[in-house]
Symmetry: C2
Subunit: 318 residues, 2 copies
C-alpha cells in the first residue's frame, strides 16, 4: 500500500512511518519541520520505499502536487500544543482547521478517498461523563486547539458524506513514548535537568489525565483502518486508567532519583481551557480486539529514558 503521512517527521508520524515501512509499505512523509525533526526520520530515510517532501499544508498547490495518488492519507500534522491557543488564536485555525481542509481538498482533486485524522479527547470539553464514550452529549469547546480539531472532524465527516470518502477519526489522550517532544513530561524533565531542587507545576496537581504509549496507539490505528469499514469511523484511544498530575510527578521523580521542592501555580486547571479530567471510554476500539500493553506509569518511564538519551531535543529550544 502507498501511504501519505502529513506531519510524518513528528512524534507520532515518524513512528508510524517506521512501522509502515517495516510492514513493507511505501511511505511519503510531508512535513514542514515546524515541530517535526529530521533526526526522527533517520531510520526511514534509509528505506528505498520512503520519500520525504518538505512542505507546508497551507501551500495548497504544493501539497496537491506532492500528494499524488496514495491509497491512504494519515493526517497527523497539527499545531499540537493546546496551551498556547490564547496567545496565538489564528494558529489553531490555520494549522489545524484550514490545513485539514487543504488535505481533504487535495485528496478529492487527486482521487484519494481514505483518511485517518489525529483528533483529541479535548473535543469533549468539560464532560461530566467518565469514562467518556464517543457518543456522549454534544460537547461545548473550551480551547481553540480542541475547537480547531472538532472543525477538522466535521470537515472529514462532510467529505465522507459529500464525496464518498472513508474517514477514521481518532480522539487521542496524550501520547507518550519514544520521540515524544512536547507536553508535561517533557517540561518537567526539562525543568529538573536545569534545577533538580525545585519543580513548578501548573494548576494544583490534581488534574486527572490519561496517557497512551505510542506503540499501543499505533497498534490501534493500524487495526482500526484494517477492521473498521464504516463511512465514518470514530474511536477514542487511551488506556483504561487515568492518573493525577501528582502521580506522574512522583513516578518521574522516582525514576530520576531527585527530590525537588514542588511549587503549584494553583487552580483546577493548568492553563485557560485546560480540561481538569480526561478519561476516555475505549470500548469501541477494544471491541475490535485491541488492548494497550503498557500502563501509564510504564509509558512515562519509557518517555524519560528516551528524553535522557536525546538531550539534543532540549537544546533545540534554547
Amino acid at each position: 500500500m502507498k501511504y501519505f503521512i502529513t506531519g510524518g517527521a513528528g512524534f507520532i508520524g515518524s513512528n508510524l512511518a517506521d512501522r509502515l515501512l517495516r510492514d513493507g509499505h511505501q511511505v511519503t512523509v510531508y512535513d514542514n519541520y515546524s515541530t517535526g525533526q529530521e533526526k526522527f526520520l533517520d531510520v526511514a530515510r534509509n528505506q528505498p520505499s520512503f520519500t520525504f517532501v518538505k512542505g507546508d499544508l497551507l501551500d495548497f498547490n504544493h501539497l496537491k502536487q506532492s500528494m499524488g495518488k496514495p491509497d491512504f492519507v494519515f493526517h497527523l500534522a497539527a499545531n499540537a500544543d493546546v496551551r498556547y491557543g490564547t496567545v496565538q488564536p489564528r494558529k489553531d485555525l490555520e494549522q489545524n482547521t484550514i490545513a485539514t481542509f487543504n488535505v481533504l481538498e487535495a485528496m478529492r482533486l487527486n482521487g484519494v478517498y481514505r483518511i485517518a485524522f489525529a483528533s483529541t479527547g479535548s473535543v469533549y470539553g468539560e464532560s461530566t461523563i467518565f469514562p467518556t464514550p464517543e457518543d456522549v452529549n454534544f460537547p461545548v469547546q473550551t480551547s481553540l486547539y480542541a475547537a480547531s480539531k472538532l472543525a477538522g472532524e466535521g470537515l472529514i465527516e462532510a467529505f465522507c458524506e459529500g464525496f464518498g470518502f472513508q474517514g477514521y477519526i481518532f480522539r487521542f489522550v496524550s501520547i507518550l513514548g519514544e520521540r515524544y517532544s512536547h507536553g508535561h513530561v517533557f517540561d518537567f524533565y526539562d525543568k529538573l535537568r536545569k534545577d533538580p531542587n525545585k519543580l513548578e507545576v501548573l494548576g494544583d496537581g490534581h488534574q486527572r489525565k490519561s496517557y497512551l504509549y505510542i506503540q499501543d496507539c499505533l497498534d490501534a490505528v493500524c487495526m482500526a483502518i484494517d477492521k473498521a469499514q464504516e463511512k465514518v469511523n470514530i474511536f477514542n484511544l487511551g488506556t483504561d486508567e487515568f492518573c493525577e498530575v501528582n502521580d506522574s510527578i512522583q513516578w518521574i521523580l522516582a525514576a530520576l532519583g531527585v527530590q525537588p521542592e514542588i511549587y503549584y501555580t494553583g487552580g483546577q486547571r493548568g492553563w485557560v481551557g485546560d480540561n481538569p479530567f480526561i478519561f476516555l471510554d475505549c470500548q469501541r476500539m477494544r471491541n475490535l480486539g485491541w488492548e494497550p500493553k503498557y500502563s501509564i506509569r510504564e509509558s512515562i518511564i519509557r518517555t524519560l529514558i528516551f528524553l535522557q538519551e536525546n538531550q539534543w531535543l532540549f537544546e533545540l529550544r534554547c
Copy 2:
C-alpha cells in the same frame, strides 16, 4: 445599546436591524451584498441611528476598523445555502468558519465581548432523537455547511472560555417570512411562476422539515440575549411542529391556486448531505417565556405574499 450586525442586509439581519432601530438602539450593518439586498435596508437607512458599511468579513483589517466598539455583535453573515457545499467546498470554510474567526478576533482586539451567532439545526446531522435537544449525542456532520457552522460554534465557545466572551448560539430551523430570499419556498414559487403546470421536487417529498417565522425567531433571539446569562448560551429555535415537503407543497399550491403535475427526483434526501428529518426540541428557549405565534403553514403563506409582492428578487437571478 450599540449593535453591530454582520450580514445585516440579509433576510434575518435586515429584519433584526429594523427591530433594534425601532426599539431605540444604534445599529451598524456590515454586509458585502453578496446575498444581502440594498432594498432590505430601505427602512433602516432613514434612521439617524443607523450606519451601513459595505465590507467583506474576509477583509480582516477593514472589519476590525469598521466594527469599532459596539456593545453587542450579531454575526449573521454566512454562506447560507446548504445545498451547494459539494460544488464549492471552500466557500463554507471561508464564508462561515474563517469569517466567524475574523469576527471573533476583531471583537477581541476591539474589546467587544458579547456575540450572537446564527447556527443551524443541521449540526445535528442525522440525529435519531426527535425532537432533538441541544445536548443530544455528539453528532456526525453530513454537509460542509453544517460542518462550517459547527466550527463557528466551537470557535465562539473557545473564545468564551479563553477570552471572557459571552456567546449566544442559535440553532435555527429554516426561517420564513418577509425578505426570505432563498430556500425551498423561494424555489417552488419561482418554478411555478415560470410554469404553473409542472413542479419538480428534490427527493421523494417525504423529507420532514421544520420552519419558524422571522418575527418569532427575532422575539426569541432578543429575549435570549436579555434573559440568558451563562458564558455559553445555546438554544434551538423552531416551532413545536414539522411538516413533510409534500405538505408545504399543498399549502403553496392552494395559496397560489395552481395544480401542477409534480415530478419527484427521488430518494430520501433532496441533495447530498440533506437531513431527511429536522425537528428541534425548543424547550430550553420556551423555559425563558418565549413561544412562537405562527404555525408553519401561516409562515409559508406570509412568505408567499412577500414573494408575490417582491418579484424583483427573482429578476436578480436571471
